[in-house]
Symmetry: C2
């Protein structure tokens, strides 16, 4: 199978490099450092063992790339508006596109852009960062869940999962909608609250008032998920997420990093869409509505003060 990777950042760079390192054919599209990587290769500093790829198929334009069996999307969702330009050159009749992205509603919107394309959700549980040109820093975790959204070829999903496993990445197939909402249980409270209060995951859990608030927000996501038809989720899942986070290395979620580096935040798919989906299903996520409003305010202030 031939893999294409759109976006050679913390996500696309890591998972693409792992596949290439295992001998898979991988072609990377990179806006910023394809030239650097083409000349000097890609370095992955990883808690699971660092490695260097001396020869990387890196491209600066999608039109130069070959058609692929599987395309991994490693863009931030704020850049999905570029997909109508970036994705078509890589597509053939049965290409599977895996959206390794955050949030709720991503697949629906991409499917509207490409009604015929087979889509899957990729849910990455990883702490990684693109620290400099040609270098990905993988701090911890790294497993990926794949949820079938509109792929008619089950064997292709299986093959992607197997390829990841062969590449040393813990991969599993999961139910798409349940997986998206379960990830939102962690993402919605921690991404926004670390921005709104300019803090870190561990400090939020050390203060009784914000610990309770995080729990309340997680319960809002769980009740929203239930309203949207996800059955296999309840309060114990929130407790597990909080327990895991207390025992995690303190870190800044992706939205916190985006805000710190004055990049646009993924408010649309991390907040607005799940809030809308829940509201359509008759449930109001009131505390997360407030968080969304605060984030919109902070985002606009940051962009207009420059």
């Amino acid at each position: 199978m031939r893999y294409g990777v759109i976006g050679m950042g913390a996500i696309g760079g890591f998972y693409g490099a792992k596949l290439a390192h295992a001998g898979k054919e991988v072609h990377f599209l990179s806006h910023s450092d394809y030239q650097y990587v083409k000349e000097r290769g890609l370095q992955v500093d990883s808690c699971d063992g660092s490695f260097h790829l001396p020869h990387v198929n890196a491209y600066g334009a999608a039109s130069d790339m070959p058609k692929c069996d599987v395309v991994l999307i490693g863009l931030k969702t704020v850049n999905n508006r570029l997909l109508p330009e970036l994705l078509p050159p890589l597509l053939k009749e049965d290409t599977l596109v895996v959206l390794i992205q955050n949030g709720i509603g991503v697949e629906e919107d991409v499917q509207k852009m490409f009604p015929e394309v087979q889509l899957a959700a990729g849910l990455a549980f990883i702490c990684s960062a693109k620290t400099e040109p040609g270098k990905v820093n993988h701090q911890c975790y790294g497993y990926i869940n794949i949820g079938n959204y509109s792929c008619k070829q089950q064997e292709k999903i299986d093959e992607v999962v197997n390829d990841f496993r062969q590449a040393g990445v813990d991969a599993n197939e999961v139910e798409y909608l349940e997986a998206r909402w379960k990830k939102a249980v962690w993402n919605m409270p921690f991404n926004g609250m670390t921005v709104a209060l300019n803090t870190q995951t561990d400090i939020l859990l050390q203060h009784p008032s914000t610990l309770q608030l995080i729990k309340d927000q997680m319960m809002e996501v769980i009740e929203a998920a239930q309203a949207c038809g996800v059955k296999n989720i309840d309060e114990t899942f929130a407790e597990k997420m909080i327990y895991n986070t207390v025992h995690m290395t303190p870190y800044s979620p992706s939205m916190k990093l985006d805000f710190e580096f004055k990049r646009p935040m993924e408010i649309d798919y991390l907040y607005t869409r799940p809030i809308e989906e829940a509201r359509k299903a008759g449930y109001r996520m009131k505390k997360l509505e407030m968080l969304e409003a605060e984030l919109r305010f902070l985002d606009l202030r940051q962009r207009t003060s420059e």
Copy 2:
């Protein structure tokens, strides 16, 4: 009538000085600048006409003060724990104590400290600040509403209202509980949100996301008030408050000033108590619960980082 004023800050200093300027007998208790005021008098720089009081009855200890017919409390509620020490020397059998303070539940708690004392709520609508020793800066507004809480002498309430009017202060008697909740409609959104987002009233109303959030929070207060038995309040009151604020000079509410000057914030009576009262009456103020949690976090961080 002899007036006592506990707290010679932006509130007690202003209203006490207005009464004294009109020839009433007023005795001030001041922690910080009684000596300065005793020697050099009290200056009021006011949009309604500035004036100077050369001779002021200022005291540094309550035990030196005479018994009073009316005591105005101009302390921040965070200092109400001092009342059992400060108030008794001023009390005689029929003293009326007017709590010119913010929040919900203040009268209940002070009544518990002094079960026999006659209490009234004083609701000040004023922009004023104590800028330096012996000087109060009154920027705009200034009217005061008096709500009877446990005063058995209606004529005493009337007399206080009349004395204020004679002193050039627009004063009116109002229904206590309704007035407290109506003031909370403005106070709860604007005090906390200007702190949480480090901004001003006008900027909150310029952003569509925070304008909607302020409206939602005002509706939470209105629905809480209704649940607590206040009938004469509905959505039009929120619209009027927003309209008035849009046309107000942008300014920092008292909690914002407290936070900026690293003073403790009045979270208990401005947030915790109304949230509790509403919850007891079966209504959850969810966005304001979240704001309370954020304020507790910010308050604790500020106090522990020093």
